[in-house]
C-alpha cells in the first residue's frame, strides 16, 4: 500500500520534472542577450535545474500530503469563511474603527512621505475598486476597460484646468459627468452582449481610448503627456511656499510653518472623502429600486426580463455610475500627479482594478479594502522586482479563483431576501 503510493508519487514527480524542464528549459535556461547588436544565447542551466528539482519534489510531497488528507477525511477548514463570519458579526464596529484609523493615519508618528504616498495610492485603488464594484459586483457585468473612464476623468480634468483655469472643485463634477457620458456612449451598444463577450468588448474600448490619447497630438500631446496640471487648493488657498504677490496661502492663512506635507495630507483627506462618498453611495443605492434591479439582473436576467425590468437601461445606469466614479478618481489622479500620459492608463491598470474587485469577493465593499491592501501591498513589497511582482500578482489571481472562486469574502447575499435570512 505505502510502497505503491511512493512508487506512484515518484513516477508522477518524474513526469512533473520532465514537463518543468520543457517549460523552463528554453525560456529560462536560454536567455537571449544582445551583444554588439547581435542576439546570442546565454545558458543558465543552474536556475533551470533548481526550478525543475523544486517542481518535482514539490509534486512528490503534495501527492503524499493529499493522500494522507484523504485518509483523514476531515472537514476542510476555511479561513476565508471564518473571516467572512467574523466580519458579518462585527462588521459595523470594524468599519467605524477602520474609518477612524484612516482619519488619524496622517498624524501617526510613522506616517512619513513614503507611507502617505502608499496610503494615497491605496485609497485611489479602493475608490476605483468601489466604483467598479457597482458594475461587476452589483450588476454582474465584467468590465475590463474600466481604466478608460479613469483616463477620461483625468484628461478632462487636466484639459479644463489647463485651458480654462477652472478650479478642482468645478472640474471634478465635470470630469465625472464626462466619464459617465462615455460610459453611456460605450455601454449603449454593447450591454446586451453576454458576460465574456462584454468583457472583451470593454477591453477593446479601453485600448481604443488609449490609442486615441496616444495619437491625438493636438489635444492630448500624445505620448509626451500633459504637464503643469494645477494642484488643488484648500478652498481657494493654494499650497505654495512662495505664493504670487498678494495671494494668501494655506500656511499664512492658518499661521503655520510651510511644510510640503500639508499638501500631501490634504490630498490624502481628499481621496478619503471621495472614496467614502463612493462607498456611502453604493450602500445607499443597493437598497433603492435600481440597486435591487442590478442585483436581480446579476442573479437571473431572463427572470428579470419576464418581470418587466428593462435590462439595458438598468445595466446602463450601473455602467454610467461606475464610470462616473472612475472619472472622479481620474481627476484626483491628475491633480495629484500634475502630469498624465497614456502610459498610466494601460490594460494592466484595468486588470489590477478587476483583480481587486474579484479577489475581494464581488459585491463586498469590505472585500475591496482587504484585497487592495493585500494586492497593492504585494506590489509595493516587491517594488524592486518589477516583473516578478507581476508574476506573483497574476499567480494570486489564478490561485484565488481556484480556491475561492467567489473571492476572499465570498459574500453574495442579496440585500433583500424573502422570508427568513439564511
Amino acid at each position: 500500500m505505502g510502497k505503491d503510493l511512493i512508487q506512484k508519487s515518484l513516477k508522477d514527480s518524474l513526469f512533473t520534472g520532465i514537463i518543468a524542464l520543457a517549460l523552463f528549459g528554453p525560456i529560462v535556461g536560454l536567455r537571449t542577450v544582445a551583444k554588439n547588436e547581435v542576439l546570442v544565447v546565454e545558458p543558465k542551466w543552474f536556475i533551470v535545474l533548481l526550478i525543475v528539482a523544486f517542481c518535482a519534489i514539490g509534486r512528490f510531497f503534495i501527492n503524499i500530503y493529499s493522500y494522507k488528507k484523504e485518509q483523514r477525511r476531515g472537514e476542510p477548514s476555511s479561513l476565508g469563511k471564518a473571516i467572512s463570519n467574523f466580519l458579518d458579526e462585527k462588521g459595523a464596529q470594524i468599519a467605524i474603527a477602520a474609518i477612524a484609523f484612516s482619519i488619524i493615519f496622517p498624524f501617526m508618528p510613522f506616517a512619513d512621505r513614503y507611507w502617505m504616498d502608499i496610503a494615497i495610492m491605496m485609497m485611489t485603488y479602493i475608490m476605483l475598486g468601489w466604483g467598479l464594484n457597482i458594475v461587476i459586483g452589483l450588476a454582474g457585468l465584467l468590465d475590463l476597460g474600466y481604466v478608460a473612464f479613469y483616463a477620461v476623468g483625468a484628461y478632462s480634468y487636466a484639459l479644463f484646468a489647463i485651458h480654462f483655469g477652472w478650479s478642482f472643485w468645478i472640474c471634478l463634477p465635470i470630469a465625472g459627468l464626462f466619464a459617465g457620458m462615455f460610459g453611456i456612449l460605450l455601454g449603449f451598444p454593447v450591454l446586451r452582449l453576454r458576460g465574456d463577450y462584454l468583457a472583451i468588448v470593454t477591453l477593446a474600448f479601453g485600448e481604443m481610448i488609449r490609442i486615441l490619447l496616444l495619437n491625438w497630438y493636438e489635444l492630448t500631446k500624445g505620448p509626451d503627456g500633459l504637464t503643469g496640471i494645477p494642484r488643488p487648493s484648500f478652498f481657494g488657498l493654494p499650497f505654495k511656499r512662495y505664493p504670487d504677490e498678494g495671494v494668501e496661502t494655506f500656511h499664512t492663512f492658518f499661521g503655520l510653518e510651510y511644510d510640503p506635507m500639508q499638501r500631501i495630507i490634504f490630498l490624502y483627506y481628499l481621496i478619503l472623502v471621495l472614496a467614502l462618498i463612493t462607498n456611502a453611495f453604493t450602500i445607499k443605492i443597493r437598497r433603492l429600486p435600481v440597486g435591487r434591479a442590478w442585483e436581480a439582473l446579476r442573479e437571473d436576467e431572463i427572470a428579470c426580463k419576464s418581470l418587466g425590468v428593462n435590462p439595458r437601461n438598468t445595466k446602463l445606469t450601473a455602467f454610467a455610475i461606475g464610470a462616473m466614479f472612475g472619472g472622479f478618481a481620474g481627476s484626483f489622479f491628475a491633480t495629484r500627479q500634475a502630469f498624465i500620459s497614456p502610459e498610466s492608463f494601460t490594460f494592466i491598470e484595468s486588470a489590477i482594478i478587476v483583480a481587486i474587485v474579484v479577489l475581494g469577493g464581488m459585491g463586498s465593499q469590505t472585500g475591496v479594502v482587504l484585497s487592495t491592501i493585500f494586492l497593492i501591498g504585494l506590489i509595493e513589497v516587491f517594488r524592486d522586482f518589477e516583473s516578478y511582482r507581476m508574476v506573483a500578482f497574476g499567480g494570486a489571481m489564478v490561485l484565488i479563483m481556484i480556491f475561492r472562486p467567489r473571492g476572499i469574502l465570498a459574500k453574495r447575499k442579496p440585500t433583500i431576501t424573502m422570508g427568513k435570512h439564511g
Partner: protein
C-alpha cells in the same frame, strides 16, 4: 492597382498568422465555452522558443530547410507543453465554477506568462536577422514594384498544409470525433466511454501548437518581438474567431484572413497610427450586429 496588389499580398500573409491563432480560440470556446485569454501569450511563448532555436541553429550550420522544419517542430512541442500546463493549472479546477471564473483565471495566467517571459528574457525587444531572403518582383517597369517574398509564400504554404492536416484530424480521426462529441454534450460523451479530460487536454495541445507555428512565422516575418506581442495579436485573433463565427474552425481561418486584410488595407489607405483601432472597431461592430459571425451557430439562451 500595384499598391492594391501589394496590400493584398501582405494582408493574406498577416491573415494566415491570425487565422492560426484564431483556431486555438475557437476550438477552446467550442469545447469548454470559455475565452482562453492566455492564448495570445502562448503564441508569444512560441515566438520566443522559435527565436531561441533560430539563434542556436544558426551556429550549427545545418541547411535552411532542415532548420525550418526543426524550428517548427521544436516550437510546437515546447509551446504545446505550455498550453497543456496552463489548462491543467488554471482552467481544469474551474470547470464547474461560475461563468466568469475561468475568464479571470485566464487573465491572471496571461499576466503571469507575460511577466515571466519578461523576467526570464528581458524587457528589451529582440531582433532576428532575416532567415529567408529574396522574392519575386512584379511590374518592374511601373513606378511601384510589387514584391512577393519567398517568406510570404512559405508562410501561406505552411498555413495551407497545416490547415489540411488539421481538417483531416478533426473530420477523420477518433480524436476529432471525440472533440466534436465533447462540443455537443460533455456528460453524454463521458458516458460513452470517452476520456473527456484527455480530449480537452488534446484540444489545448493542438491549439497551442498551431499558435506556436504562428509565432514562428511572426518572428520570421517581422523579425522583432517582445514579451508584449501576445496581447494585441491575441485580441486580433479573437476578433477573427468571432468574425468567422466562434466555434467554427473554417470560420476561424476565414476570419483571420479578413482581419489580416482589413488591417493591412486600413494601414495602407487610411492611417497607420490607428491600425489597431481597425481590428477593435471590427470586433465591436461584429459583436453588436452579428454576434454569430459568418459560419457560427446561433446561440440560444435557455432558462
Amino acid at each position: 492597382m500595384e499598391y492594391f496588389l501589394q496590400q493584398l499580398i501582405n494582408g493574406v500573409t498577416l491573415g494566415s498568422v491570425y487565422g492560426l491563432i484564431a483556431i486555438g480560440y475557437t476550438m477552446v470556446y467550442g469545447i469548454i465555452g470559455m475565452i482562453n485569454f492566455a492564448h495570445g501569450d502562448i503564441f508569444m511563448v512560441g515566438a520566443f522558443v522559435a527565436l531561441i532555436s533560430f539563434i542556436l541553429f544558426a551556429l550549427t550550420g545545418i541547411s535552411l530547410p532542415i532548420i525550418l522544419i526543426l524550428v517548427l517542430l521544436i516550437a510546437m512541442i515546447f509551446t504545446a507543453c505550455y498550453g497543456w500546463t496552463v489548462e491543467k493549472l488554471a482552467y481544469k479546477p474551474l470547470r464547474k465554477s461560475f461563468r466568469l471564473a475561468p475568464l479571470i483565471s485566464a487573465l491572471g495566467m496571461s499576466i503571469v506568462l507575460q511577466n515571466y517571459v519578461q523576467a526570464a528574457q528581458g524587457a528589451r525587444i529582440k531582433t532576428l536577422q532575416p532567415v529567408i531572403q529574396g522574392g519575386f518582383n512584379f511590374f518592374k517597369e511601373s513606378d511601384f514594384v510589387v514584391t512577393l517574398s519567398y517568406l510570404q509564400i512559405f508562410i501561406v504554404l505552411v498555413t495551407i498544409v497545416l490547415m489540411a492536416i488539421f481538417t483531416l484530424l478533426i473530420t477523420r480521426t477518433a480524436l476529432g470525433r471525440a472533440q466534436r462529441a465533447c462540443e455537443q454534450d460533455r456528460t453524454m460523451t463521458a458516458l460513452m466511454g470517452i476520456n473527456v479530460d484527455r480530449t480537452i487536454s488534446m484540444t489545448f495541445i493542438i491549439g497551442s501548437s498551431l499558435a506556436s507555428v504562428a509565432g514562428v512565422m511572426f518572428v520570421m516575418y517581422y523579425g522583432v518581438i517582445d514579451f508584449y506581442i501576445g496581447f494585441l495579436a491575441g485580441i486580433k485573433a479573437f476578433t477573427a474567431a468571432v468574425l468567422g463565427g466562434i466555434g467554427s474552425i473554417p470560420g476561424a481561418m476565414l476570419g483571420g484572413l479578413l482581419i489580416g486584410l482589413i488591417e493591412t488595407f486600413w494601414s495602407g489607405y487610411i492611417s497607420i497610427e490607428y491600425k489597431d483601432i481597425a481590428a477593435f472597431t471590427t470586433l465591436v461592430i461584429v459583436l453588436i450586429f452579428f454576434p454569430t459571425g459568418f459560419l457560427g451557430k446561433p446561440d440560444i439562451e435557455k432558462v
